[in-house]
């Protein structure tokens, strides 16, 4: 099989209601990613973007952005939902041997249309939309409560996930929600939405974009001395909410298993140096630990308690601040890949974790993380 590497990337400074049109935002981030790779648009063979019509407020969300995305007269397509899906597609196009250099771009301006209302629009229109009660936050709250009572997890422990990630976000120049002195008390006194989910336990509504340049091994060697290899990919969709076991992230387990197998990872705990995951709600991060095989089911809180997943812990999770630090919906998973690649390349100024050789990046989409994508990335050695 061909090897594929990340050779350049860029992301915006994610923020609430950016003073930039989506066109300018996309143009700038793509330009910067190409500059980071040190290649021109002419060298790109295929462009895959990721965005969603409902979130962008435009049917065919990609159509007026192709020029900004550098796709003019190029082979192009759009994978919706999460940017990691677009990377998955671009990766396969390069593996197929038909393309050597791919540009991936993902964006959402959450200020355009409330993503929580979009989550309501994703529900079964014949039943749940008729009932009219659910949305992604309400469903996550139900899941959080079930998880808490099944495994004896307290609200404080959930809040501690938020504190960890928000403190990390404070050091990340691209993050959106930065509260450098955030405390568990502050999280627990933030606005209550659906018990136990409070404002600081949910990801913020961010405007942002992210771009990535991928290349085949042959091309990657010419472009950079510091390629980050995609060693494993796994993705999986779960059942619709009604018929899913909400106590675990089943589709993430499967996606992680597939990615580990492809990358030859037998023990993620010892073989992977860093994790960048998309936790849209604080409790999800604990469930993600379990699904990724970092601990047994229900034991996620112990990793946190022992400080293992802190930035300077043994298995750092989200030193960038994760999705709780910034959530430009379709770009969030792609940002995780970029943050993981950054750590491998040693370019995470101000929040660099030392000695990162192999890292995991995770993207998700759908209510209670219905769909998951897992990437295993590795450095040169």
């Amino acid at each position: 099989m061909r090897r594929v590497a990340i050779v350049g990337y860029a992301q915006t400074q994610h923020q609430f209601d950016m003073d930039k049109t989506r066109e300018d935002m996309v143009f700038e981030v793509v330009k910067e990613a190409l500059l980071d790779a040190g290649i021109s648009r002419e060298e790109v063979d295929t462009v895959i973007t990721s965005s969603s019509d409902f979130l962008d407020g435009r049917t065919i969300s990609s159509v007026f952005l192709s020029m900004a995305a550098g796709a003019y007269l190029k082979d192009e397509s759009k994978a919706e939902e999460d940017g990691t899906s677009a990377v998955w597609y671009a990766f396969m196009k390069i593996l197929a041997g038909t393309h050597d250099v791919a540009l991936v771009e993902a964006h959402t301006q959450a200020s355009t249309f409330n993503p929580h209302l979009v989550s309501f629009y994703t529900l079964d229109p014949l039943f749940d939309r008729q009932v009219g009660l659910l949305n992604d936050i309400a469903a996550a709250a139900i899941q959080a409560r079930m998880y808490m009572s099944a495994y004896g997890v307290s609200e404080e422990e959930i809040a501690r996930v938020a504190v960890k990630n928000l403190l990390n976000a404070a050091k990340n120049p691209n993050a959106h929600r930065k509260i450098p002195d955030v405390t568990v008390e502050e999280v627990l006194s933030s606005k209550l939405y659906y018990h136990p989910i409070r404002e600081l336990m949910m990801s913020p509504l961010s405007d942002g974009a992210c771009a990535l340049v991928l290349a085949s091994e042959e091309k990657a060697r010419k472009i950079t001395d510091n390629p980050v290899w995609i060693e494993g990919v796994g993705c999986c969709q779960d059942f619709y909410l009604r018929d899913r076991d909400l106590l675990k992230l089943g589709s993430l387990e499967k996606a992680a298993r597939d990615a580990y197998e492809m990358a030859g990872v037998r023990d993620p705990l010892t073989e992977l140096d860093l994790f960048e995951v998309s936790e849209k709600f604080a409790h999800e991060e604990l469930m993600i630990y379990e699904a990724l095989g970092l601990c047994r089911r229900g034991k996620g809180k112990i990793l946190l308690e022992k400080g293992l997943t802190e930035k300077d812990g043994e298995i750092p999770v989200n030193p960038s601040g994760g999705a709780l630090g910034a959530d430009p919906v379709c770009a969030t998973g792609l940002v995780r890949i970029v943050e993981a690649a950054k750590q491998i390349r040693g370019e995470a100024d101000g929040y660099q974790v030392s000695g990162v050789r192999k890292a995991l990046a995770h993207g998700q989409f759908g209510i209670c993380a219905q769909k998951n994508w897992v990437f295993i990335l590795g450095g040169e050695r």
Binding site: N114, H116, V131, R145, I197
Partner: protein, 152 residues
């Protein structure tokens, strides 16, 4: 002229939809009027779906009208949340004057979980595992309008 680089604007338009429901859902919705909850039991693996559906997601068997079963309307609360806000149609969260309980309910005889309002209960007294039963509306406000309450 504003200092901002962008101009923000909207357009007042609500797109409306009418989703056809198919035969099994039609039976389900019509039965609600007669205060009955129908489910579809997979003839092959036995998994029981509520609301009913045409294809078993677990074993892929096809389900039809002969697989419809009537449920008792009793069930167990497997999860819940107390809503302090609700999403209005424009994407804003409105504070609720009185918090509301959304229950995740597994009905007796069914395997699916449905997410419905839980009423006639003090939110502080809601417990996972609680026995609940269907509470029919005197007048339904939509095609799917019913709730649950604790079994006393």
């Amino acid at each position: 002229m504003s200092e901002e680089k962008v101009i923000r604007y909207g357009f007042p338009f609500v797109a409306r939809f009418e989703w056809s429901v198919g035969f099994l859902m039609e039976r389900f919705i019509k039965s609600l009027v007669d205060k009955k909850i129908l489910a579809a039991k997979c003839p092959s693996c036995g998994y029981t779906y509520v609301p009913p559906r045409s294809r078993c997601g677990k074993c892929y068997a096809q389900l039809g009208e002969t697989n419809l079963v009537e449920l008792s309307g009793k069930g167990k609360l497997v999860g819940y949340t107390i809503a302090h806000v609700e999403l209005d149609g424009s994407g804003n969260f409105r504070d609720l004057e009185k918090p509301r309980v959304i229950g995740a309910i597994k009905l007796e005889g069914a395997d699916s979980t449905i997410f419905m309002p839980l009423e006639e209960v003090d939110p502080k007294e809601v417990k996972e595992g609680m026995e609940v039963e269907v509470k029919w509306r005197d007048e339904m406000k939509g095609p799917v309008d019913f709730a649950f309450r604790p079994v006393r």
